[in-house]
């Protein structure tokens, strides 16, 4: 039991690879100083590609006495995390050079944050959950404050750090309650103990605290307060990173925790997720209307998207998880693309962030305007763009699970959300043109934006890989018991 075997190491091969590569790149950076930032960013991307290969060729199973698990679900989510981290890192190249952020620690921190997300996604024990979460969060706090001479960036970093520490405290408190009342931290053992009929109230209180801590990490209402400020203050490429990779990892972790060890408490946590979903969808829709800063608007938009994702989780079926997996993949593409467009908003060598600055973009830069229009229509959920399919699968799962309220609220808030998404399109295409943005926007940026726009636009033509991957991911969680419990409740 206590002996390490080779299969243990094989299970965590991607994690080991990321950790060793991160330390090696750190050494390269230390000995060559900040001149090599571009080289290290490039090498980090290579590391990500190799990690992607390792993730998708790994074996299924648990390692280290059940501390970590490797399955199709983990592989799918880790691939999304890698794509999100890689694309945002690629987009950041121009920004960090111009804004005096060119320091070799930046790509290394992103790499270590990705390592933390990997551990989160494959956590199979409350202890590995916390280690992964804290590793990711710590790297993100530093990234948020990376422009240390910028007041807003340091404020964002400090705010994120303090509130994140509170959330970690809540999560730890919940974990200690669960451990105290069940005597184990292993997800597999917890699932057995908590599936019985007489679950102690202490474990349920623990579940509530753990759910609250994780809800903070995915910025679901009412734990969303930090999101607009941190998104606005953090350097734009960092915000782009925040809005994709950590969100995917935290949602994956929430799914794993709620459906795995707490699967027997479905009736209890469904109420929590239900409330979080409704509140997030409403606030995401109505909070964004009054925003004039596009980074704040995207923060509210991401809160709304988290609400839609939680609709799939509230269903508690494999179909719902399938919907979430598709939604995350689509959200990743839309989000990365939109942030790419925001990174291209420069005028006289300075970043501009107001929605009004986009006026008349269709005349000064038709390509960028068309791409941003595609992302906005997609986020609003207009068929046949990718965003429609994400929402469709999630709402379908909710309807099939009998959660008509959630589906109706979701559709209504989508209509409200369409208002502010399409307003951006209106500003770009019908308002009087202002000064043109700086050209060229940068080769990497155009590639990322073009790629995401193509994915969003043509998703319906070739859906195969995403749908297959999502199906395999949702099947590997083995949600049969929850589905049965759900249908039993309905009868």
């Amino acid at each position: 039991m206590n002996e390490l075997s080779l299969s243990d190491l094989q299970i965590v091969l991607p994690e080991i690879w990321l950790a060793l590569a991160g330390m090696a790149l750190l050494m390269v950076g230390v000995f060559t100083s900040n001149r090599s930032t571009r080289l290290i960013t490039g090498l980090t991307l290579v590391v990500f590609i190799i990690a992607g290969v390792l993730v998708n060729s790994g074996l299924d199973g648990t390692g280290f006495g059940g501390l970590v698990v490797d399955d199709r679900f983990g592989a799918f989510m880790k691939t999304l995390v890698l794509i999100g981290a890689g694309l945002t890192l690629l987009m950041s190249l121009g920004f960090i050079r111009r804004e005096g952020m060119e320091r070799f620690e930046f790509p290394v921190l992103i790499l270590f944050a990705t390592l933390g997300m990997f551990i989160m996604v494959s956590a199979n024990d409350l202890m590995s959950l916390y280690i992964g979460l804290e590793m990711q969060s710590l790297a993100l706090y530093v990234c948020a404050a990376f422009q240390r001479d910028n007041l807003r960036s340091t404020e964002a970093g400090l705010k994120y750090f303090v509130l994140g520490a509170v959330a970690s405290g809540m999560l730890l408190y919940g974990a200690s309650l669960v451990y105290g009342f069940t005597g184990t931290t292993s997800f597999a053992d917890l699932a057995i103990i908590l599936s019985g009929s007489d679950v102690s109230i202490g474990a349920i209180v623990g579940l509530v605290f753990i759910a609250a801590g994780l809800a903070f990490k995915i910025s679901a209402v009412p734990f969303h307060m930090w999101t607009p400020d941190v998104y606005e203050g953090a350097p734009t490429p960092v915000t782009a990173f925040f809005s994709v990779a950590p969100k995917v990892a935290a949602v994956a972790l929430l799914i794993r925790v709620l459906t795995g060890p707490f699967g027997g408490l479905f009736a209890e946590w469904q109420q929590i997720v239900f409330l979080l979903a409704v509140a997030s969808m409403l606030l995401g829709a109505f909070g964004a209307i009054a925003q004039s800063n596009i980074k704040r608007l995207m923060a509210y938009s991401s809160i709304g998207h988290v609400g839609y994702i939680l609709v799939g989780l509230a269903a508690g079926t494999a179909e719902g998880i399938n919907g979430i997996a598709i939604y995350l993949a689509v959200y990743l593409a839309m989000s990365v693309g939109t942030w790419g467009c925001i990174l291209a908003m420069r005028r006289q060598q300075r970043m501009v962030e107001d929605i009004a600055d986009l006026s008349g973009l269709s005349r000064s830069n038709p390509g960028l305007a068309a791409a941003l229009a595609i992302f906005m229509f997609s986020m609003a959920g207009i068929p046949p763009l990718a965003g429609f399919f994400g929402k469709f699968y999630v709402f379908l799962a909710a309807v099939n699970a009998g959660l008509y309220t959630l589906a109706v609220v979701g559709v209504l808030t989508s209509v409200v959300g369409a208002f502010y998404y399409i307003r951006i399109v209106k500003v770009m295409y019908f308002d009087e043109p202002g000064d043109a943005f700086d050209r060229p926007v940068g080769r990497e940026l155009s590639w990322v934006v073009g790629l995401s726009a193509a994915f969003t636009l043509l998703f319906f033509v070739y859906t195969g890989p995403v749908l297959d991957g999502a199906a395999a991911a949702s099947q590997s969680l083995g949600l049969v018991t929850i589905g049965e419990a759900q249908s039993a409740v309905l009868e």
Partner: protein, 203 residues
């Protein structure tokens, strides 16, 4: 057995006395020194109950790192204590009230305390099967095998924390350093220019 009891009372008495002195002494440096004394005595108590690993950690981490850090902070910040103490009387009623509530809660907890009957039996068999090892060896045995993954993960977290501190605070200032080789290799022609100036015209 008598010796152990005597040692316990000695450590406990010094611990309590020095803990009182931490908050009672006027000089903050004395407070920190009393805190270190308290840590040492707590370590002695741990040794008495056979938890020598905790005792070592307490000395290494708390005395070696945390207390010295405190000492640095206290010495560098130059806190004016008379100002700090001015609010003491003002907050005394609130503090006393909170203390009273906590005391009542403690009394409730202790009077309502029930130990399960099996507990007495369990306490006599600590870590069955591994008794021949010291608890440092026992901890090491699972820390580097079963929990190796978490142990390494915690190490990476510390590395990130260190990187973060360096990224956010380290500044490379332009310091002018003497480079003797360059001074020696300097030729008069590099720095001195000789010009012929006619009287009354200036440079």
């Amino acid at each position: 057995m008598i010796l152990q009891t005597l040692a316990f009372y000695l450590f406990a008495a010094v611990l309590l006395a020095s803990a009182v002195m931490v908050i009672a002494s006027r000089n903050p440096v004395h407070s920190v020194l009393f805190l270190i004394l308290a840590f040492f005595n707590a370590a002695g108590l741990f040794v008495l109950i056979g938890a020598e690993f905790l005792a070592m950690i307490l000395v290494v981490v708390y005395v070696g790192a945390v207390a010295v850090l405190f000492l640095f902070v206290v010495m560098m910040l130059d806190i004016n204590l008379t100002e700090l103490r001015q609010g003491f009387l003002q907050y005394l009623p609130v503090g006393a009230l909170i203390g009273l509530v906590l005391a009542i809660e403690l009394i409730f907890v202790v009077t309502g305390w029930q130990l399960s009957p099996e507990l007495a039996g369990m306490a006599q068999a600590p870590a069955s099967g591994l008794v021949e090892h010291s608890n440092t060896a026992q901890l090491g045995e699972i820390l580097y095998t079963r929990y190796a993954f978490l142990f390494q993960g915690a190490g990476v977290i510390l590395l990130i924390a260190m990187m973060g501190a360096i990224v956010l605070t380290l500044r490379h200032r332009d310091i002018k350093r003497q480079k003797i080789s360059r001074q020696v290799a300097q030729k008069p022609g590099d720095t001195i220019e000789i010009r012929k100036i006619r009287p009354g015209e200036g440079v």
